[in-house]
């Protein structure tokens, strides 16, 4: 896609000058909150929505003027869109039928696809007789049976319960990879995107903020929204007081000082320091260490493999610290502790002009409307 834009009703900018390249056989995800434009972008690729500007290429061919049926894509809808008046077999073989493939070929492909998703025995069932997971698999096999080389998936797991969603996400990737297809998967679930994608594009308000592998997005977020949306982060307000070779010194609220290896900001600049909860260490009492902050445990939550602490610092900021539950001693509510973090595992972002809360928001609040 090159400079693709789409505006609805002359005022809602759904896609804002997006350029993106997806490689052959890649499992690519578009990740972002509801309303960020990811589904619109997917529908533009499919030809279901006409862009106001820009070009869409599929397999190096410009497809702007091509209708959906001629783009060689398969689309899995969020609501599956299984034809209610057709049984599973007729749904899956619909694509081969309307493309006038030889009957034998259509039947062979239909059988293969249904066996691949383990639903061949349910071929006589109608959509209303199937569970959510089964409908999702039928929708997927229908899209694959039509011979698509590019698979577009619009929140394909969104309507399923958590356990099924967790299991099916790996099935999806396995199928796509086994068949050698290219997939573009739209989701708002960052865990899902991280688990199955080769690369991810994070979107907000019609724009792409960052594209990268899951590791790149997690360990090196380039935008404060990405830092918050992908994984979890603590955000501490401060100012840059001194920059030197390879390090920057920050003064947080209440005069607390820390340093970071992220030297992208200038002296005197108002910034936000981001530190992931799992990069903090926590010790009893007041221990003077580099990048150490003193505080009191305000709340703790046992989460099975992890313990989650909320520590109120001396400047009243609260940081979340996540530690493995089986490997370390636990701390109690009310205990004085020292939390510290390595400077190379922190990020510094310019303080957002509209305020931190609004910048990180995933949906419009009444104040923003």
């Amino acid at each position: 896609m090159v400079n693709v834009s789409k505006t609805f009703a002359k005022k809602i900018v759904a896609v804002d000058n997006v350029s993106l390249q997806v490689y052959d056989k890649e499992y690519f995800s578009l990740l972002g909150p509801s309303g960020c434009g990811k589904t619109t972008l997917l529908r533009i690729i499919a030809g279901l929505v006409k862009p106001d500007g820009g070009e869409v290429y599929i397999d190096s061919k410009l497809v702007n003027k091509l209708p959906p049926e001629d783009r060689g894509i398969g689309f899995v809808f969020q609501t599956y869109a299984l034809f209610p008046h057709m049984d599973v077999w007729d749904n899956v073989t619909y694509g081969p039928r309307v493309k006038a493939w030889e009957e034998a070929r259509g039947e062979r492909i239909g059988r293969e696809m249904l066996e691949m998703v383990r639903l061949y025995e349910r071929q006589d069932a109608f959509p209303h007789e199937l569970s959510g997971g089964m409908m999702q698999r039928v929708a997927l096999s229908r899209a694959l049976a039509a011979g698509a080389r590019l698979l577009l998936l619009d929140e394909p797991l969104g309507a399923l319960d958590a356990k099924i969603r967790f299991e099916l996400r790996y099935d999806l990737r396995r199928l796509v990879k086994d068949l050698g297809l290219t997939a573009i998967h739209v989701t708002h679930d960052q865990g899902e995107a991280m688990a199955i994608s080769d690369r991810i594009a994070v979107m907000k308000k019609g724009k792409i903020l960052q594209v990268g592998t899951p590791q790149e997005l997690y360990t090196n977020p380039q935008h404060i929204f990405v830092a918050n949306f992908v994984g979890e982060n603590n955000f501490l307000e401060g100012n840059v007081v001194k920059t030197s070779e390879g390090k920057v010194q920050l003064e947080l609220r209440g005069g607390l000082t820390v340093s970071s290896s992220d030297t992208s900001k200038k002296e005197g600049e108002r910034v936000i320091l981001a530190v992931r909860p799992e990069t903090f260490t926590i010790e009893k009492g007041h221990e003077k260490r580099p990048n150490s902050l003193f505080g009191v445990v305000e709340r703790l939550r046992y989460e099975g493999t992890d313990i989650r602490y909320e520590v109120r610092l001396k400047n009243e900021d609260v940081v979340v610290v996540v530690r493995p539950s089986l490997m370390e001693e636990w701390f109690n509510v009310g205990e004085s502790v020292t939390v510290s973090f390595p400077s190379e595992k922190s990020y510094v972002f310019t303080y957002p002009g509209r305020g931190l809360r609004e910048e990180l928001a995933v949906e419009l609040t009444s104040e923003m409307v």
């Binding site: 279901l48 869109a81 034809f83 209610p84 008046h85 619909y94 694509g95 309307v98 006038a100």
Partner: protein, 545 residues
Amino acid sequence: MPNSSAVGYFDKVSSRPFVRHLIYSGSVIFFFGIILIPPILGIILRWNAIGEIFESPNLISRASSAIYASFAIALLVSFLDLVAGLPLAWFIARGKSKWLNIIDTLADLPFIIPTVTLGYSLLLYWNGPEGVSQFFGANPLVSKGWLLIALLHFAFSYPAVVRVIVGALFDYKVVYEEAARTLGAAPLTADRTVTLPILKSSLIAAFTLAFARSLSETGATVIVAGAFENGVVFIKNTRDAGQEGPMVFVSFVLIFTASLIYLTIRLLGPRLKMPVKRVWPFVERKLSDFKVKTVRDSFTTLVFFAFVLVPSLFIVFPIVSALSNGTLNQAVSGVGVWQGYWQGLLLSYFVATTVTALNILVSLPMAVLIARKRWGATASTTLDVLSNIPMIVPSIALGASMSIFWRNFAFIPEIALIILAHLSITYPYFVRAMVAAIERVTMDLEEASRTLGARPFTVFRTIILPLTKYSLFAGTIMMFARSVDETGATLAVVTGVKTVPVLLVDWVRGTVPASAMDIALGAGLLVLFSFIILLVLRIVVKGRH
């Protein structure tokens, strides 16, 4: 909200199961006792008179031909309405032309024209010397008879068919079509193999509606029939001639056969399979082409204009003449035939208002009973089917059999007979509208209200009614308009008292001597008053909504 003592009392007593059963039972007893059973009993009471028809081969032949003509015309017209109405509905629902809003509004225009006016307008258009006949050198182009009846029925059912299908298309989830397109189907293939089968129930409903309207239409049919007789014309003619036996016989056959056809469609319609497996990709792709689509849409619009809109509005020309040649002064002064006109008009609106108010009271509990299955699913389905029967059967047949029954109660004045007949005819319109609306209100809302302490009548008043008020007002408007328009049943139940559509039929047929200008103006004024009242009602609805 302050609670009046009456409302508070109803709120309180509605908790008692006995009171609720009483209300529902009362509604059902009213339906069976006033609407459904009297016409059946009327036929049974005069069953012996049917023998009269078998004594005359001529009468048998006339009756058979008339019955056959009714069903043949209804089937033909319903089929044509569906074939012609579907493309226009598609164009309105899916098209992107800037003229769409105008066409959408125009498609509704024939709705607001009372059918007797419509009949007269079509008569002038197809049969009159100043209509289309002059362009074809024919005199007339279409004679009074079965073809003119078919053209009339086509025109007045067409907007109803288009509206049902447009509504279905707006409700339809376009994602199914999109899915078909992403699987490689051309637009026409997607429409034929996916959209139409999913809309099947709406297409059947549209067909049934057109069929029922054609079978039932009396006033305008009598105007354009000439010497030709279909079922309703035969009933009117035999009634006027005092031949009760033939009248009862044909009424019975029409009621029975129409009910049977309706039940068959209702039961077997959902099982009808549409051909979706075979595809012709090359041909359908060509037919999906933009140019072909443009030609198709243009042709569809032309058919609509030539066979529906222009004939329906043709009466405007004589109305304009009547306004400028002194007829209006006579009308306003109530001179000559106009005295009867104003009396008829007042009677029409009085009856419509009374019928509407009564029907709301008695059919609301029935609607709740059906929608909420208070007496179980079987009872609900049975009542739903039965409550639709007065809409399916020809109104004149219904009226004829009702008048036989109620005549046994000599103390009932003629105006009450008209009210009873109109109650029956309009009842299904309101029940259907309210059943659909109540079904859309999820039970969760009622249950939430009850857990918060609301009694059943409070729930009805504060939850159901506000959430269904648009359908309530729409149903009210439909009932009112239907009652004002009703001719057949009125013709059948009374002879002395005339509502304005009945009077206009007499004017056109020459039974009452009225000039062409009188007829045109009388028909035009009826349209005007109907339009004003409907506009006021719509403003009230919009304001409250």
